[in-house]
């Protein structure tokens, strides 16, 4: 079982490298946010797999909870920035609620 989880971890690591292409090269800023979000999800799974490999899952699961919340809040925070950008532009009245 150890080898199975090791192979899965290495595979997820290479998938993260592929996703990083969209994060670096993405034509829009939203592609970059999306790439970061997907890397965050994969990193959470990778953390749990590392925990299984080290026989210490009870410690890594707490880090994974924190990482999942951080990933979600980062995405929401960055996208909130664009909502605010619109509300100080010319259509401020109809967005105000």
């Amino acid at each position: 079982m150890h080898a199975v989880f090791l192979a899965a971890g290495i595979f997820i690591f290479f998938l993260m490298l592929l996703t990083l292409y969209r994060g670096i090269h993405g034509p829009l800023i939203f592609d970059r946010i999306l790439g970061g979000n997907m890397i965050g999800t994969k990193a959470m799974i990778l953390l749990l797999i590392i925990g299984v490999l080290h026989n210490n899952l009870s410690m890594f699961v707490d880090i994974a909870i924190a990482y999942a919340m951080l990933n979600f809040i980062t995405t929401l925070g960055v996208t909130r920035l664009f909502f605010r950008k619109r509300s100080i532009s010319d259509t401020a009245q109809e967005d105000d609620q």
Binding site: A8, R22, I45, I65, T79
Partner: protein, 108 residues
């Protein structure tokens, strides 16, 4: 033995869905269709991988500590299930506000 088979099957199914999600984010032609790959494939693959890891931990140490760790993984699963579509929705709404046009071969 059969539980190990279930664990490996769930984990590798998750890896296949992760791989196709990554292929989707690299291959789809416009931003909104890339959101499809991210939103659906990532949620499904994360759910499968998390349940596989929880099952493995339960089968390795079936005592109170193991059950608590499995409950925490279940908490992450519920959180991912709620937060992943919300993140997708937030990104797409920000893109709509900025005015990103959807891709189309022929405009009607």
């Amino acid at each position: 033995m059969i539980i190990n088979g279930i664990i490996v099957f769930l984990l590798y199914l998750a890896l296949v869905i992760f791989a196709t999600g990554t292929a989707g984010i690299l291959r789809f032609p416009d931003f909104y269709s890339r959101l499809h790959a991210a939103g659906k494939c990532d949620t499904m693959a994360a759910i499968l991988a998390l349940s596989s890891i929880a099952l493995y931990h339960l089968s390795e140490n079936p005592d109170l500590g193991g059950v608590l760790v499995a409950l925490k993984i279940l908490l992450i699963l519920v959180f991912v299930f709620i937060s992943s579509p919300t993140a997708t929705h937030a990104i797409s709404q920000a893109a709509l506000i900025i005015g990103v046009e959807p891709w189309g071969r022929e405009k009607k």
